[in-house]
């Protein structure tokens, strides 16, 4: 819980700048560092989280519902059908460059799909996977 104000402050300080995915990820790593001690972000855990199916929303059981099985591909909104540009940084250089946008979509999508806020560790793993997948 204490991590939330820290994350918010760190993000606010970066809000006006474009950042790299690594810088944004580092915010969450720092916040997660207090939680299991010695946390290191993992692309493999991020990959597993990306593919996990949650039991909250039957139209959107997981990230893949909109972003498809490969984040390198364009996706499609599960309800409206709207085209969604790829989520992987390798396919879309704009991803994870705007801290406010990253937090906004974690906030919305975790609530809607996972049913709760994602932890800083989950966010760090997620960004790591999407920064590295080719």
């Amino acid at each position: 819980m204490r991590a939330i104000p820290a994350v918010a402050l760190l993000l606010a300080s970066l809000a006006c700048h474009a950042e790299t995915p690594q810088q944004i990820r580092q915010i969450y790593v720092s916040a997660a560092a207090g939680q299991p001690a010695g946390f290191t972000p993992s692309a493999q855990r991020g990959d597993a989280f990306f593919r996990q199916r949650f039991a909250i929303n039957d139209k959107m059981p997981g990230c893949t519902s909109c972003h498809t099985d490969s984040p390198l591909n364009a996706g499609q909104h599960a309800v409206t059908g709207k085209n969604i540009r790829p989520l992987a940084v390798a396919a879309n250089a704009e991803r994870f460059s705007d801290p406010a946008k990253v937090e906004k979509w974690f906030g919305r999508n975790c609530k809607e799909v996972v049913g709760r806020a994602c932890t800083p560790a989950e966010k760090a793993d997620f960004i790591t996977y999407l920064s590295e997948v080719r």
Partner: protein
């Protein structure tokens, strides 16, 4: 005789211009930023002002999703939509909650579309204008520029 013929020919071209629906020039950047991720940024003329107001007041329950925006952007977007809303007499009632696809204006223009086209996975929903009107975001809904022939295969 030739002049009358020419004028009649030109006059018959005007109805095609009725399907140009550009985004107003004064659209705030927040409208695209906040309202074009899950569906296209609909041109404000597609709903009357009071229906836009209803939608913006109920964003926490926006067709099954929580689409709330921060108060500053929300006020800016709401003002833009109300200022540029369409003519309610021409559009007809949008229902509750207001849906562009429920207006008489929409149903009249789409009454020839077979129900199965709306369910085609390439379309998915009548809210997905761009599936058939690929230049919808630029305001081009011309019936001569539609991708429907692909759906007929």
């Amino acid at each position: 005789m030739k002049r009358i013929f020419l004028i009649a020919l030109l006059g018959s071209a005007f109805p095609a211009m009725a399907h140009r629906l550009p985004m107003p020039a004064n659209a705030p950047a927040s409208y695209q930023a906040e309202c074009s991720s899950c569906h296209m940024a609909y041109q404000p003329a597609l709903l009357p002002a009071n229906d836009w107001r209803k939608l913006m007041a109920g964003l926490n329950e926006h067709f099954g999703s929580d689409a709330t925006v921060d108060p500053k952007n929300g006020a800016e977007i709401n003002a833009f939509l109300e200022r540029n809303g369409g003519d309610p007499k021409r559009l007809g009632s949008a229902g509750t909650p207001p849906r562009i696809t429920q207006t008489r204006h929409f149903t009249h223009h789409h009454h020839e579309v077979p129900p199965k086209f709306w369910r085609d996975p390439r379309v998915k929903s009548a809210a997905n204008c761009e599936a058939c009107h690929s230049a919808a975001a630029k305001g081009n809904y011309s019936e001569h520029d539609i991708a429907i022939p692909e759906l007929r295969e």
